[in-house]
Amino acid sequence: MKAGWTISAVLHGAVLAWGLVTFVTKPLNATPPEFISTDIISDADFSQITQGIRSAPKAEAPKPLVEKIAEARPVEEQTAKVIDNKPEIVPTADQVQPPKPPEPKKAEAKPPAPQPQPKPEPKQAFAKEPAPKVDPIAEAIKKDTKKPEPKTQQKAETPPKKVEPAKPQPKFDATRIAALLDKRDPQRKAATGDTLSNTPSLGTAAGRAVTLSQNELDALRARLRECWNVPVGVAEARDLVVTVRIQFKQDGSLQTDPRLMNSGSHPAFQVAAESALRAVRTCAPYSFLPAAKYEAWKDVIVDFDPRDMFRG
Protein backbone atom coordinates (compact mmCIF):
# COMPACT_ATOMS: atom_id res chain seq x y z
CA MET A 1 0.00 0.00 0.00
CA LYS A 2 2.86 2.32 0.76
CA ALA A 3 4.28 1.78 -2.69
CA GLY A 4 0.87 2.54 -4.14
CA TRP A 5 0.63 5.79 -2.23
CA THR A 6 4.08 6.87 -3.27
CA ILE A 7 3.59 6.06 -6.93
CA SER A 8 0.18 7.72 -6.97
CA ALA A 9 1.42 10.89 -5.27
CA VAL A 10 4.37 11.12 -7.65
CA LEU A 11 2.13 10.64 -10.68
CA HIS A 12 -0.29 13.33 -9.49
CA GLY A 13 2.55 15.72 -8.84
CA ALA A 14 3.87 15.08 -12.35
CA VAL A 15 0.45 15.66 -13.93
CA LEU A 16 -0.02 18.89 -11.96
CA ALA A 17 3.41 20.14 -12.93
CA TRP A 18 2.69 19.35 -16.56
CA GLY A 19 -0.65 21.15 -16.25
CA LEU A 20 1.00 24.22 -14.75
CA VAL A 21 3.33 24.42 -17.70
CA THR A 22 0.93 23.69 -20.53
CA PHE A 23 -2.44 24.91 -19.27
CA VAL A 24 -3.71 28.21 -20.62
CA THR A 25 -1.67 30.94 -19.00
CA LYS A 26 -3.17 33.60 -21.26
CA PRO A 27 -5.24 36.11 -19.30
CA LEU A 28 -8.87 36.37 -20.22
CA ASN A 29 -9.19 39.64 -22.05
CA ALA A 30 -12.82 39.84 -22.97
CA THR A 31 -13.52 43.02 -24.90
CA PRO A 32 -16.82 44.62 -23.99
CA PRO A 33 -19.51 43.88 -26.57
CA GLU A 34 -20.57 46.54 -29.05
CA PHE A 35 -23.96 48.04 -28.43
CA ILE A 36 -26.57 47.84 -31.15
CA SER A 37 -29.33 50.40 -30.88
CA THR A 38 -32.71 49.28 -32.01
CA ASP A 39 -35.92 51.11 -32.81
CA ILE A 40 -39.39 49.71 -32.77
CA ILE A 41 -41.51 50.71 -35.73
CA SER A 42 -45.05 49.88 -36.62
CA ASP A 43 -46.25 48.12 -39.75
CA ALA A 44 -47.39 51.40 -41.19
CA ASP A 45 -43.98 52.97 -40.61
CA PHE A 46 -42.36 50.01 -42.25
CA SER A 47 -44.64 50.31 -45.26
CA GLN A 48 -43.64 53.90 -45.77
CA ILE A 49 -39.92 53.60 -45.30
CA THR A 50 -38.05 55.20 -48.15
CA GLN A 51 -35.12 53.40 -49.55
CA GLY A 52 -31.70 54.91 -49.00
CA ILE A 53 -28.11 54.01 -49.57
CA ARG A 54 -26.66 51.97 -46.78
CA SER A 55 -23.23 53.58 -46.93
CA ALA A 56 -24.45 57.14 -47.20
CA PRO A 57 -23.33 59.56 -44.50
CA LYS A 58 -26.00 60.46 -42.07
CA ALA A 59 -27.53 63.80 -42.87
CA GLU A 60 -29.75 65.69 -40.50
CA ALA A 61 -32.49 65.95 -43.06
CA PRO A 62 -32.74 64.45 -46.54
CA LYS A 63 -31.45 66.93 -49.12
CA PRO A 64 -32.42 67.00 -52.74
CA LEU A 65 -29.75 66.29 -55.32
CA VAL A 66 -28.10 69.62 -56.07
CA GLU A 67 -25.08 70.37 -58.23
CA LYS A 68 -25.06 74.17 -58.36
CA ILE A 69 -26.08 76.80 -55.94
CA ALA A 70 -28.86 78.90 -57.41
CA GLU A 71 -32.58 79.03 -57.36
CA ALA A 72 -34.07 75.64 -56.71
CA ARG A 73 -34.82 73.74 -59.85
CA PRO A 74 -35.10 69.98 -60.00
CA VAL A 75 -33.61 67.75 -62.64
CA GLU A 76 -35.85 65.65 -64.82
CA GLU A 77 -33.33 63.15 -66.05
CA GLN A 78 -30.19 62.49 -64.12
CA THR A 79 -28.24 60.47 -66.58
CA ALA A 80 -27.39 63.14 -69.15
CA LYS A 81 -24.18 65.15 -69.00
CA VAL A 82 -24.23 68.31 -66.96
CA ILE A 83 -23.56 71.61 -68.75
CA ASP A 84 -23.34 75.14 -67.48
CA ASN A 85 -26.51 77.07 -67.35
CA LYS A 86 -25.69 79.13 -70.48
CA PRO A 87 -28.24 78.37 -73.13
CA GLU A 88 -25.93 77.45 -75.97
CA ILE A 89 -28.64 76.41 -78.28
CA VAL A 90 -27.87 77.76 -81.77
CA PRO A 91 -30.53 77.68 -84.41
CA THR A 92 -29.79 74.80 -86.67
CA ALA A 93 -30.42 76.86 -89.79
CA ASP A 94 -27.17 78.78 -89.15
CA GLN A 95 -25.16 75.77 -90.06
CA VAL A 96 -26.67 75.73 -93.51
CA GLN A 97 -26.78 79.42 -94.35
CA PRO A 98 -24.16 81.99 -93.47
CA PRO A 99 -25.19 84.07 -90.51
CA LYS A 100 -27.30 86.99 -91.64
CA PRO A 101 -28.02 88.87 -88.44
CA PRO A 102 -24.63 90.71 -88.36
CA GLU A 103 -25.44 92.63 -91.59
CA PRO A 104 -28.41 94.44 -90.31
CA LYS A 105 -26.33 95.27 -87.28
CA LYS A 106 -23.76 97.05 -89.44
CA ALA A 107 -26.46 98.96 -91.14
CA GLU A 108 -27.74 99.85 -87.79
CA ALA A 109 -24.39 101.12 -86.57
CA LYS A 110 -23.26 103.03 -89.60
CA PRO A 111 -26.25 104.99 -90.83
CA PRO A 112 -25.09 108.52 -89.87
CA ALA A 113 -21.59 108.49 -91.48
CA PRO A 114 -21.11 106.22 -94.49
CA GLN A 115 -24.46 106.33 -96.09
CA PRO A 116 -24.46 109.94 -97.15
CA GLN A 117 -21.14 109.34 -98.99
CA PRO A 118 -22.22 106.93 -101.69
CA LYS A 119 -25.23 109.01 -102.47
CA PRO A 120 -23.39 112.18 -103.53
CA GLU A 121 -21.08 110.21 -105.82
CA PRO A 122 -23.65 108.86 -108.20
CA LYS A 123 -25.32 112.17 -107.97
CA GLN A 124 -22.22 114.05 -109.17
CA ALA A 125 -21.44 111.53 -111.90
CA PHE A 126 -24.89 111.57 -113.29
CA ALA A 127 -25.25 115.29 -112.99
CA LYS A 128 -21.99 116.14 -114.81
CA GLU A 129 -22.22 113.99 -117.93
CA PRO A 130 -25.74 113.41 -119.12
CA ALA A 131 -27.40 116.16 -117.29
CA PRO A 132 -29.82 117.54 -119.89
CA LYS A 133 -30.34 114.29 -121.72
CA VAL A 134 -31.66 111.87 -119.37
CA ASP A 135 -34.38 113.47 -117.47
CA PRO A 136 -36.05 110.44 -116.08
CA ILE A 137 -32.80 109.17 -114.67
CA ALA A 138 -31.91 112.46 -113.16
CA GLU A 139 -35.31 112.66 -111.72
CA ALA A 140 -35.01 109.20 -110.53
CA ILE A 141 -31.67 110.04 -108.94
CA LYS A 142 -33.15 113.09 -107.41
CA LYS A 143 -35.88 111.05 -106.06
CA ASP A 144 -33.23 108.66 -104.82
CA THR A 145 -31.21 111.35 -103.15
CA LYS A 146 -34.29 112.66 -101.53
CA LYS A 147 -35.61 109.31 -100.55
CA PRO A 148 -32.55 107.78 -98.93
CA GLU A 149 -32.64 110.21 -96.08
CA PRO A 150 -35.98 109.16 -94.74
CA LYS A 151 -35.08 105.58 -95.50
CA THR A 152 -31.89 105.67 -93.49
CA GLN A 153 -33.75 107.24 -90.68
CA GLN A 154 -36.25 104.50 -90.89
CA LYS A 155 -33.43 101.99 -90.82
CA ALA A 156 -31.87 103.52 -87.78
CA GLU A 157 -35.11 103.67 -85.95
CA THR A 158 -36.37 100.17 -86.58
CA PRO A 159 -33.60 97.81 -87.54
CA PRO A 160 -35.41 94.65 -86.45
CA LYS A 161 -38.11 95.24 -88.97
CA LYS A 162 -35.61 95.07 -91.71
CA VAL A 163 -33.93 92.00 -90.23
CA GLU A 164 -37.06 89.98 -90.12
CA PRO A 165 -37.97 90.06 -93.74
CA ALA A 166 -34.29 89.68 -94.67
CA LYS A 167 -33.94 86.47 -92.71
CA PRO A 168 -34.27 83.68 -95.20
CA GLN A 169 -36.54 80.78 -94.45
CA PRO A 170 -34.46 77.61 -94.00
CA LYS A 171 -35.15 75.53 -97.03
CA PHE A 172 -35.61 71.85 -96.45
CA ASP A 173 -32.97 69.93 -98.33
CA ALA A 174 -33.07 66.19 -97.96
CA THR A 175 -29.44 65.75 -99.02
CA ARG A 176 -28.15 68.05 -96.31
CA ILE A 177 -30.18 66.53 -93.55
CA ALA A 178 -27.05 65.26 -91.84
CA ALA A 179 -25.85 68.80 -91.38
CA LEU A 180 -29.09 69.64 -89.70
CA LEU A 181 -28.69 67.05 -87.05
CA ASP A 182 -27.63 68.14 -83.60
CA LYS A 183 -24.54 66.07 -83.01
CA ARG A 184 -23.86 67.10 -79.44
CA ASP A 185 -24.27 64.67 -76.58
CA PRO A 186 -27.53 64.82 -74.74
CA GLN A 187 -27.21 67.43 -72.08
CA ARG A 188 -29.12 68.56 -69.13
CA LYS A 189 -29.18 71.59 -66.95
CA ALA A 190 -27.40 71.29 -63.67
CA ALA A 191 -29.72 70.90 -60.75
CA THR A 192 -29.57 73.93 -58.56
CA GLY A 193 -30.47 74.47 -54.98
CA ASP A 194 -29.41 76.03 -51.71
CA THR A 195 -26.51 73.75 -50.96
CA LEU A 196 -24.31 71.51 -52.99
CA SER A 197 -24.82 67.78 -52.55
CA ASN A 198 -23.64 65.35 -55.15
CA THR A 199 -24.70 62.14 -53.51
CA PRO A 200 -28.16 60.94 -52.79
CA SER A 201 -28.57 61.19 -49.07
CA LEU A 202 -29.62 58.50 -46.65
CA GLY A 203 -33.16 57.59 -47.40
CA THR A 204 -34.41 59.86 -50.15
CA ALA A 205 -33.72 60.72 -53.82
CA ALA A 206 -35.52 57.75 -55.29
CA GLY A 207 -37.24 56.29 -52.28
CA ARG A 208 -39.60 53.59 -53.34
CA ALA A 209 -42.12 54.00 -50.63
CA VAL A 210 -45.12 51.77 -50.94
CA THR A 211 -43.88 49.32 -53.50
CA LEU A 212 -40.75 48.41 -51.63
CA SER A 213 -42.06 47.14 -48.37
CA GLN A 214 -45.73 46.66 -47.97
CA ASN A 215 -47.26 44.60 -45.37
CA GLU A 216 -49.55 41.86 -46.52
CA LEU A 217 -52.76 43.84 -46.49
CA ASP A 218 -51.18 46.67 -48.45
CA ALA A 219 -50.10 44.17 -51.06
CA LEU A 220 -53.55 42.61 -51.21
CA ARG A 221 -55.20 45.99 -51.62
CA ALA A 222 -52.82 47.00 -54.34
CA ARG A 223 -53.53 43.79 -56.21
CA LEU A 224 -57.30 44.21 -55.94
CA ARG A 225 -56.99 47.82 -57.06
CA GLU A 226 -55.26 46.64 -60.21
CA CYS A 227 -57.94 44.07 -60.89
CA TRP A 228 -61.00 46.14 -60.19
CA ASN A 229 -62.44 47.52 -63.36
CA VAL A 230 -64.59 50.33 -62.00
CA PRO A 231 -67.81 50.56 -64.02
CA VAL A 232 -68.56 53.91 -65.61
CA GLY A 233 -71.57 54.77 -63.55
CA VAL A 234 -69.95 53.73 -60.34
CA ALA A 235 -66.79 55.81 -60.59
CA GLU A 236 -68.67 59.08 -60.02
CA ALA A 237 -71.03 57.66 -57.44
CA ARG A 238 -70.90 59.03 -53.90
CA ASP A 239 -71.51 57.01 -50.78
CA LEU A 240 -71.32 53.76 -52.61
CA VAL A 241 -69.18 51.26 -50.77
CA VAL A 242 -69.16 47.58 -51.57
CA THR A 243 -67.99 45.40 -48.70
CA VAL A 244 -66.74 42.00 -49.71
CA ARG A 245 -65.68 39.13 -47.51
CA ILE A 246 -62.90 36.99 -48.95
CA GLN A 247 -61.77 33.66 -47.54
CA PHE A 248 -58.47 32.27 -48.68
CA LYS A 249 -56.85 28.90 -48.74
CA GLN A 250 -53.33 28.53 -47.52
CA ASP A 251 -51.91 28.70 -51.03
CA GLY A 252 -53.62 32.03 -51.68
CA SER A 253 -56.49 30.76 -53.79
CA LEU A 254 -60.10 31.41 -52.84
CA GLN A 255 -61.63 29.04 -50.35
CA THR A 256 -65.18 30.08 -51.09
CA ASP A 257 -66.72 32.45 -53.57
CA PRO A 258 -66.33 36.04 -52.32
CA ARG A 259 -69.45 37.18 -50.50
CA LEU A 260 -71.15 40.53 -50.53
CA MET A 261 -71.49 41.83 -47.01
CA ASN A 262 -73.68 44.89 -47.48
CA SER A 263 -76.46 46.17 -49.68
CA GLY A 264 -77.20 49.61 -51.05
CA SER A 265 -80.05 51.59 -52.49
CA HIS A 266 -77.89 53.28 -55.07
CA PRO A 267 -78.99 52.37 -58.59
CA ALA A 268 -75.44 51.48 -59.55
CA PHE A 269 -74.83 49.38 -56.46
CA GLN A 270 -75.59 46.09 -58.10
CA VAL A 271 -73.22 46.84 -60.93
CA ALA A 272 -70.49 47.91 -58.54
CA ALA A 273 -70.98 44.82 -56.39
CA GLU A 274 -70.78 42.55 -59.41
CA SER A 275 -67.62 44.23 -60.61
CA ALA A 276 -66.01 43.98 -57.20
CA LEU A 277 -66.79 40.28 -56.89
CA ARG A 278 -65.47 39.75 -60.39
CA ALA A 279 -62.27 41.54 -59.48
CA VAL A 280 -61.73 39.24 -56.52
CA ARG A 281 -62.34 36.16 -58.66
CA THR A 282 -60.19 37.18 -61.61
CA CYS A 283 -57.16 37.94 -59.50
CA ALA A 284 -57.72 34.62 -57.81
CA PRO A 285 -54.43 33.02 -56.79
CA TYR A 286 -53.03 35.56 -54.36
CA SER A 287 -49.85 33.56 -54.06
CA PHE A 288 -47.80 36.53 -52.84
CA LEU A 289 -49.45 36.33 -49.44
CA PRO A 290 -46.94 34.72 -47.03
CA ALA A 291 -48.05 31.30 -45.91
CA ALA A 292 -46.43 31.82 -42.53
CA LYS A 293 -48.94 34.53 -41.69
CA TYR A 294 -51.92 32.62 -43.01
CA GLU A 295 -53.87 33.28 -39.86
CA ALA A 296 -53.74 36.99 -40.53
CA TRP A 297 -55.25 36.90 -44.00
CA LYS A 298 -57.32 33.74 -44.23
CA ASP A 299 -60.56 35.70 -43.70
CA VAL A 300 -60.49 39.30 -44.88
CA ILE A 301 -63.18 41.93 -45.32
CA VAL A 302 -62.36 44.53 -47.96
CA ASP A 303 -64.25 47.77 -48.68
CA PHE A 304 -64.42 48.62 -52.36
CA ASP A 305 -64.89 52.39 -52.44
CA PRO A 306 -64.94 54.04 -55.87
CA ARG A 307 -63.77 57.38 -54.48
CA ASP A 308 -60.33 56.20 -53.43
CA MET A 309 -60.77 52.83 -55.06
CA PHE A 310 -61.19 51.15 -51.72
CA ARG A 311 -60.04 50.70 -48.20
CA GLY A 312 -59.66 47.37 -46.44
Binding site: M1, A3, G4, W5, I7, S8, A9, L11, H12, L16, G19, L20, F23, V24, T25, K26, P27, L28, N29, A30, P32, P33
Partner: protein, 237 residues
Protein backbone atom coordinates in the same frame (compact mmCIF):
# COMPACT_ATOMS: atom_id res chain seq x y z
CA UNK B 1 -21.25 54.34 -10.78
CA UNK B 2 -19.53 55.87 -13.76
CA UNK B 3 -17.91 53.80 -16.51
CA UNK B 4 -14.34 54.32 -15.31
CA UNK B 5 -15.24 52.99 -11.89
CA UNK B 6 -16.76 49.95 -13.46
CA UNK B 7 -13.66 49.45 -15.54
CA UNK B 8 -11.50 49.74 -12.43
CA UNK B 9 -13.54 47.23 -10.50
CA UNK B 10 -13.69 44.90 -13.45
CA UNK B 11 -10.02 45.09 -14.29
CA UNK B 12 -8.66 42.64 -11.68
CA UNK B 13 -11.25 40.13 -12.77
CA UNK B 14 -10.55 40.43 -16.46
CA UNK B 15 -6.83 40.02 -16.00
CA UNK B 16 -7.29 36.91 -13.81
CA UNK B 17 -5.00 34.27 -15.18
CA UNK B 18 -6.50 30.94 -16.07
CA UNK B 19 -3.53 28.76 -15.23
CA UNK B 20 -4.21 25.87 -12.88
CA UNK B 21 -2.50 27.65 -10.02
CA UNK B 22 -4.37 30.89 -10.76
CA UNK B 23 -7.70 29.10 -10.86
CA UNK B 24 -7.01 27.41 -7.55
CA UNK B 25 -5.61 30.42 -5.78
CA UNK B 26 -8.36 32.86 -6.69
CA UNK B 27 -11.12 30.47 -5.67
CA UNK B 28 -13.26 30.80 -2.57
CA UNK B 29 -12.08 28.97 0.57
CA UNK B 30 -14.88 26.40 0.30
CA UNK B 31 -14.04 25.71 -3.30
CA UNK B 32 -10.38 25.44 -2.34
CA UNK B 33 -11.26 22.86 0.31
CA UNK B 34 -13.29 20.91 -2.23
CA UNK B 35 -10.42 21.00 -4.70
CA UNK B 36 -7.87 19.84 -2.14
CA UNK B 37 -10.20 17.10 -0.92
CA UNK B 38 -10.76 15.87 -4.43
CA UNK B 39 -7.03 15.94 -5.16
CA UNK B 40 -6.37 13.82 -2.09
CA UNK B 41 -9.18 11.48 -3.11
CA UNK B 42 -7.64 11.15 -6.54
CA UNK B 43 -4.23 10.35 -5.08
CA UNK B 44 -5.83 7.78 -2.78
CA UNK B 45 -7.76 6.22 -5.66
CA UNK B 46 -4.65 5.82 -7.72
CA UNK B 47 -2.72 4.45 -4.76
CA UNK B 48 -5.42 1.81 -4.32
CA UNK B 49 -5.46 1.10 -8.03
CA UNK B 50 -1.72 0.53 -8.13
CA UNK B 51 -1.81 -1.52 -4.94
CA UNK B 52 -4.67 -3.72 -6.12
CA UNK B 53 -3.24 -4.23 -9.56
CA UNK B 54 -0.01 -5.47 -8.01
CA UNK B 55 -1.90 -7.59 -5.47
CA UNK B 56 -4.08 -9.31 -8.05
CA UNK B 57 -1.15 -9.99 -10.30
CA UNK B 58 0.75 -11.44 -7.38
CA UNK B 59 -2.22 -13.56 -6.25
CA UNK B 60 -2.81 -14.88 -9.71
CA UNK B 61 0.85 -15.85 -10.10
CA UNK B 62 0.84 -17.52 -6.68
CA UNK B 63 -2.31 -19.51 -7.52
CA UNK B 64 -0.84 -20.65 -10.80
CA UNK B 65 2.38 -21.76 -9.11
CA UNK B 66 0.50 -23.55 -6.29
CA UNK B 67 -1.85 -25.38 -8.63
CA UNK B 68 1.13 -26.50 -10.67
CA UNK B 69 2.87 -27.99 -7.62
CA UNK B 70 -0.38 -29.38 -6.18
CA UNK B 71 -1.16 -31.37 -9.31
CA UNK B 72 2.43 -32.40 -9.89
CA UNK B 73 1.92 -35.55 -7.84
CA UNK B 74 3.77 -34.35 -4.76
CA UNK B 75 2.49 -35.91 -1.50
CA UNK B 76 0.14 -33.79 0.54
CA UNK B 77 2.27 -34.14 3.68
CA UNK B 78 5.33 -32.86 1.93
CA UNK B 79 3.44 -30.01 0.34
CA UNK B 80 1.99 -29.10 3.73
CA UNK B 81 5.40 -29.00 5.26
CA UNK B 82 6.79 -26.64 2.66
CA UNK B 83 3.71 -24.40 2.53
CA UNK B 84 3.18 -24.04 6.30
CA UNK B 85 6.77 -22.95 6.80
CA UNK B 86 6.02 -19.45 5.39
CA UNK B 87 2.95 -17.26 5.60
CA UNK B 88 0.63 -18.40 2.84
CA UNK B 89 -2.03 -16.55 0.87
CA UNK B 90 -5.02 -17.51 -1.24
CA UNK B 91 -4.92 -21.07 -2.48
CA UNK B 92 -1.94 -22.03 -0.31
CA UNK B 93 -3.71 -20.62 2.74
CA UNK B 94 -6.77 -22.67 1.86
CA UNK B 95 -4.66 -25.83 1.56
CA UNK B 96 -2.79 -25.15 4.77
CA UNK B 97 -6.00 -24.51 6.73
CA UNK B 98 -7.63 -27.71 5.48
CA UNK B 99 -4.51 -29.79 6.08
CA UNK B 100 -4.12 -28.38 9.57
CA UNK B 101 -7.63 -29.43 10.45
CA UNK B 102 -7.01 -32.85 8.89
CA UNK B 103 -3.79 -33.37 10.81
CA UNK B 104 -5.32 -32.24 14.06
CA UNK B 105 -8.13 -34.76 13.68
CA UNK B 106 -5.85 -37.67 12.71
CA UNK B 107 -2.76 -37.08 14.79
CA UNK B 108 -4.42 -36.14 18.04
CA UNK B 109 -4.89 -38.61 20.92
CA UNK B 110 -8.50 -39.18 20.01
CA UNK B 111 -9.38 -39.59 16.33
CA UNK B 112 -12.44 -37.56 15.47
CA UNK B 113 -13.29 -38.63 11.96
CA UNK B 114 -17.07 -38.40 12.22
CA UNK B 115 -17.47 -34.67 11.58
CA UNK B 116 -14.11 -34.14 9.91
CA UNK B 117 -15.57 -33.66 6.46
CA UNK B 118 -17.86 -30.92 7.70
CA UNK B 119 -15.14 -29.25 9.74
CA UNK B 120 -12.76 -29.14 6.80
CA UNK B 121 -15.40 -27.53 4.62
CA UNK B 122 -16.15 -24.96 7.31
CA UNK B 123 -12.47 -24.13 7.73
CA UNK B 124 -12.08 -23.74 3.99
CA UNK B 125 -15.15 -21.51 3.76
CA UNK B 126 -13.75 -19.27 6.47
CA UNK B 127 -10.41 -19.12 4.73
CA UNK B 128 -12.04 -18.27 1.38
CA UNK B 129 -14.03 -15.49 3.07
CA UNK B 130 -10.86 -14.12 4.65
CA UNK B 131 -8.97 -14.25 1.38
CA UNK B 132 -11.78 -12.51 -0.51
CA UNK B 133 -11.93 -9.87 2.19
CA UNK B 134 -8.24 -9.32 1.73
CA UNK B 135 -8.68 -8.97 -2.05
CA UNK B 136 -11.70 -6.74 -1.73
CA UNK B 137 -10.31 -4.43 0.93
CA UNK B 138 -10.47 -0.67 0.00
CA UNK B 139 -12.39 -1.35 -3.17
CA UNK B 140 -15.24 0.46 -1.43
CA UNK B 141 -13.13 3.60 -1.46
CA UNK B 142 -13.04 3.41 -5.25
CA UNK B 143 -16.81 2.97 -5.36
CA UNK B 144 -17.36 5.91 -3.04
CA UNK B 145 -15.05 8.26 -4.89
CA UNK B 146 -16.52 7.15 -8.20
CA UNK B 147 -20.05 7.98 -7.17
CA UNK B 148 -19.50 10.94 -4.85
CA UNK B 149 -16.63 12.68 -6.68
CA UNK B 150 -18.76 14.40 -9.30
CA UNK B 151 -21.17 15.58 -6.62
CA UNK B 152 -18.39 17.01 -4.50
CA UNK B 153 -17.00 18.77 -7.57
CA UNK B 154 -20.47 20.04 -8.41
CA UNK B 155 -20.80 21.42 -4.93
CA UNK B 156 -17.61 23.38 -5.45
CA UNK B 157 -18.93 24.61 -8.78
CA UNK B 158 -22.21 25.75 -7.34
CA UNK B 159 -20.42 27.55 -4.56
CA UNK B 160 -18.06 29.20 -7.02
CA UNK B 161 -20.91 30.32 -9.24
CA UNK B 162 -22.67 31.77 -6.23
CA UNK B 163 -19.62 33.87 -5.45
CA UNK B 164 -19.24 34.89 -9.07
CA UNK B 165 -22.86 36.06 -9.07
CA UNK B 166 -22.04 38.07 -5.99
CA UNK B 167 -19.22 39.69 -7.94
CA UNK B 168 -21.71 40.50 -10.71
CA UNK B 169 -23.95 42.14 -8.16
CA UNK B 170 -21.01 44.06 -6.75
CA UNK B 171 -19.81 45.37 -10.10
CA UNK B 172 -23.35 45.94 -11.43
CA UNK B 173 -22.17 44.63 -14.75
CA UNK B 174 -23.11 41.41 -16.46
CA UNK B 175 -20.48 41.42 -19.17
CA UNK B 176 -18.59 38.25 -19.95
CA UNK B 177 -15.44 39.71 -18.46
CA UNK B 178 -17.05 39.83 -15.04
CA UNK B 179 -18.75 36.44 -15.15
CA UNK B 180 -16.20 34.30 -16.96
CA UNK B 181 -13.31 34.04 -14.45
CA UNK B 182 -15.60 33.09 -11.58
CA UNK B 183 -17.33 30.44 -13.63
CA UNK B 184 -14.01 29.11 -14.93
CA UNK B 185 -12.81 28.71 -11.33
CA UNK B 186 -16.05 27.06 -10.36
CA UNK B 187 -15.98 24.64 -13.25
CA UNK B 188 -12.42 23.72 -12.36
CA UNK B 189 -13.80 22.06 -9.21
CA UNK B 190 -16.13 19.87 -11.27
CA UNK B 191 -13.24 19.02 -13.56
CA UNK B 192 -11.15 17.79 -10.66
CA UNK B 193 -14.13 15.81 -9.34
CA UNK B 194 -14.52 14.10 -12.69
CA UNK B 195 -10.79 13.47 -12.96
CA UNK B 196 -10.94 11.65 -9.62
CA UNK B 197 -14.23 9.86 -10.23
CA UNK B 198 -13.79 8.48 -13.73
CA UNK B 199 -10.74 6.25 -13.04
CA UNK B 200 -12.25 5.24 -9.71
CA UNK B 201 -15.41 3.95 -11.36
CA UNK B 202 -13.59 2.22 -14.19
CA UNK B 203 -11.09 0.48 -11.91
CA UNK B 204 -13.76 -0.41 -9.36
CA UNK B 205 -15.70 -2.35 -11.98
CA UNK B 206 -12.55 -4.01 -13.27
CA UNK B 207 -11.40 -5.03 -9.77
CA UNK B 208 -14.79 -6.36 -8.74
CA UNK B 209 -14.83 -8.69 -11.71
CA UNK B 210 -11.24 -9.68 -10.93
CA UNK B 211 -12.14 -10.51 -7.33
CA UNK B 212 -15.10 -12.58 -8.49
CA UNK B 213 -12.88 -14.52 -10.84
CA UNK B 214 -10.32 -15.28 -8.13
CA UNK B 215 -13.02 -16.17 -5.62
CA UNK B 216 -14.51 -18.63 -8.06
CA UNK B 217 -11.12 -20.14 -8.61
CA UNK B 218 -10.67 -20.53 -4.85
CA UNK B 219 -14.08 -22.13 -4.47
CA UNK B 220 -13.34 -24.53 -7.26
CA UNK B 221 -10.06 -25.53 -5.63
CA UNK B 222 -11.75 -25.85 -2.26
CA UNK B 223 -14.35 -28.20 -3.68
CA UNK B 224 -11.73 -30.32 -5.39
CA UNK B 225 -9.55 -30.48 -2.29
CA UNK B 226 -12.57 -31.31 -0.13
CA UNK B 227 -13.38 -34.18 -2.48
CA UNK B 228 -9.81 -35.49 -2.20
CA UNK B 229 -9.83 -35.23 1.58
CA UNK B 230 -13.25 -36.82 1.74
CA UNK B 231 -11.95 -39.84 -0.17
CA UNK B 232 -8.98 -40.02 2.22
CA UNK B 233 -11.29 -39.92 5.21
CA UNK B 234 -13.51 -42.65 3.85
CA UNK B 235 -10.48 -44.79 3.04
CA UNK B 236 -9.05 -44.26 6.52
CA UNK B 237 -12.28 -45.06 8.25
Amino acid sequence: MNPTDVAQSVLPLTSADLSIWGLFWSAHIVVKAVMIGLLIASIWVWAIVIDKTLLYARTKRAMDRFEQTFWSGQSLEELYRTQSARPAHSMAALFVAAMREWKRSFEGASRAIGGLQMRIEKVMDVTIAREIERLERRLLVLATVGSAGPFIGLFGTVWGIMTSFQSIAASKNTSLAVVAPGIAEALFATAIGLVAAIPATIFYNKFVSEVNKQAQRLEGFADEFAAILSRQIDEAA
